[in-house]
Every structure is written in C-alpha cells, then in structure tokens.
C-alpha cells in the first residue's frame, strides 16, 4: 500500500526540480528585488522614518515639559503651603498675645475692683463696729443707771432718808468695776 501510494505521488521533480535553482529566472528576480528595495528604502527614509522620529521626539518633549510643569506646580504648592503655615503660626501667636493681654487687663480690673470692694467692706465693718460699741456703751450705761437707781431704791427702802446718794453711787460703780 505504501509503495503503491509513493509511486502514485507525482512530485514535480520531472518539471525541472526546484524553481529556486532555475538560473534563468535570477536576473528577473534580482532586478525587481533591487527596484523594490530601493523604492522601499526611499519611501522609508524620505517619508516614514523622519515623520515617526519627529512624532516620537515631540511626544518625549511634551512628556518632559509636562513633568517639568508638574514639578513647578508642586514647588508652587509647597511654597503656598509654607506661607500658609507661616501665616497660621503668626496668627496663632497674635491670638495668644491678645488672649494674654486681655487676661492681664481683666486681672488688673478685677484686682482694682476687689481692692475697692475690700475697702468698702472694711469701711462698713468699721462703721458697724463703732455702732456696736456705741450700743454696748449705752447698754452699759443703762445697766449702771438701772443698778444705781435700784440700789438707791433698795437703800431708801431699808433706811429711808438716811441714804447718801453719792456714797451709793460710788459703791455701785465700785461693784460694777469688779
């Protein structure tokens, strides 16, 4: 079967073998090949390659520019942040100063008011004390009077007309002292 098949396969060797080895066709192919290669080289070097190279260079430039611009913007943003931070710090400082000033002022006012209040309170206290003392003095005096009158009355009751009012008075005073 195999040998039969092989014998029936009519390979083209009879027609002169490989067309690649047919020398008579070489000049034709070589001529047209050189024409094609020269044409292709001309087309590529005149039109395609410069254009593509230009586009690629342009794109690289654009990307580099964009990166540069981005770096610039970043730098600006950083500067803005720094100035913002500085402004924030000064503002905070000022706020603290104002707060401290206000506090000091309030303290001063408060202390003067306190002093005034203290003085008023002291004056009132002194006044009250003098009044208390007056009241106590008058009370004491009344007690003396009452004691004297009572003593004279008692003395008169026991010894009518005999009493010496001055002596009674001295005795009462003497007793009150003791």
């Amino acid at each position: 079967m195999a040998t039969e098949t092989l014998s029936e396969i009519q390979l083209e060797h009879a027609e002169g073998g490989m067309p690649q080895l047919d020398v008579t066709t070489y000049p034709n192919m070589i001529f047209w090949l050189i024409v094609a290669l020269v044409a292709l080289y001309f087309i590529l070097t005149r039109f395609a390659l410069p254009r593509i190279a230009a586009v690629l260079a342009e794109r690289n430039d654009a990307i580099a520019n964009d990166l540069e611009e981005a770096a610039l913007y970043k730098r600006r943003a950083e500067e803005a942040e720094a100035s913002y931070n500085a402004a924030l710090a000064t503002a905070r400082e000022e706020a603290q100063k104002i707060a401290a000033d206000t506090k000091a002022q309030i303290n001063a006012e408060l202390s003067t008011l306190m002093a005034k209040a203290d003085a008023e309170i002291a004056a009132k206290t002194a006044e009250s004390e003098t009044r208390i003392r007056d009241i106590r003095d008058s009370a004491t005096r009344s007690v003396e009077e009452v004691a004297l009158e009572t003593a004279q009355a008692i003395v008169e009751a026991f010894v009518p007309k005999a009493a010496d009012s001055e002596a009674v008075g001295a005795a009462v005073a003497n007793r009150l002292k003791g």
Partner: protein, 249 residues
Amino acid sequence: MAEGGGGFNIHPMEQFLLKPLFGGDEIHWYTPTNATLWLGITVVAVSLLMVFGSRGRALIPSRGQSMAELTYGFVYKMVEDVTGKHGVKYFPYVITLFLFILFANLLGLIPTSFSTTSHIAVTVILALAVFISVTAIGFAKHGAGFLKLFWVSSAPTVALRCVLALIEVISYFVRPISHSVRLAGNIMAGHAVLKVFAGFAGALGLFSVVPILAISTIYALELMVAVVQAYVFAILTCVYLNDALHPGH
C-alpha cells in the same frame, strides 16, 4: 501537470514557479512576473504601515500610528542594543531589510500568493548586500585594523592564533551563505509542507479533516517562522554591523 485519476497529484514546488504576469513564455530580466507583483505588494504594504499609518502625526497616536511607532521603536532599540550608539545611523538600512523580509514572509502565507523570500536568488542578494556593505563599513572605519576581527589576540600562542584566524576567515565568508539559505530554506520548506498536506486533503475525501487540522497547525507555526526569520535576519545584520564597527575581540 496531468490530473491523475486515482492517485495523488501533489506539486509542492509549483507555487514557487516564476510566471510572466501578462502572458508569454520568455522571462527577460525586465519582464513583470508574479515575483514583481508580490515584491510590489510588499513595498505597498510596508508603506501603508509606516507612511499611511503615521500620517496623523498625532501626539496621542491612533492604532495605525501606534503600530508604526512600535515597529520603529522595536527595530531602533534592536539596532541600538546590538551595535551601540555608533550603529544607529545604519538604522534605516536595517529597518528596510527587516520590514521587507517580514512583510514578504507574511504576504507569502496568503494562499495562492508568491513567496519572494523563498527564492534563494532573492535572499542571496539581501545577504550579499549586508555582507558587502558591512565589509565596506569595516574597512572604511578601521582600514587594515578591520583585519583584527580575524586575529584572536586573546589566544595564548601565535600558532593557535593562526589556526583561529583561518577559522574566523572561513566563518566570515560563510556568513552570507548561512544568512541567505536560512531564510529561503525556512520559508520554502514550510510552504512545501503546507502544499503537500493540501494535496492530501484533496485526495482523502472524508478523512481530509486530518490534513486540514495539520495545515491549520502548521500555518500557525509558519506565521511564527515568518516573523522569527525576519527578526533573525535583522538581528544578524546588526551583529555583523557590530563586528564591523567594533572589530577586535
């Protein structure tokens, strides 16, 4: 080309035949052939990608422009990585070769198309162009100093250096052969295999599902080969260029 009655009729090499476009049997050097047509289509396709694609010159690229730019960047980086800063001025040559081979390979995978890069005549010219220009650049840049490329001064003895120099010279002159045969061989072999399986598919009736599946798989592999071979050709060009720019080991 007789259609066999019951047997297979497989002509895996027929697809590589050169035919005049406008009739006639004679193929003169100037005759427009199917090779001419597909070389032209390759040039047009590359131009579509690189010129039409980049026409917008947009800062934010469209899809087409993005593809053109990615291709440009890919080849540019390859040239720069392999040959260093001095090699960048040869970038247009490398990208021309790379895009030409890439598109020729890929367009050749369209059914019924003609694979220009499957022809040894085409790849030899491409490889010779690289070989001659690289050698010329080497001598132009370094004069006789370019010959240091063959003189392995890190080898310990003079005798050894002579032997190595012989090997280096041979390997240098083998470069265009391997450079061209690798490309043509890969493309030709893949297309021939596809064609053989297609022939099976035509003859197996219901069982042609198997070769059709195989064709799909091999087609995917061939797509990869098409891209990889273009890349290999371009990167070897860069490597040779680097040798010319920086001879001496």
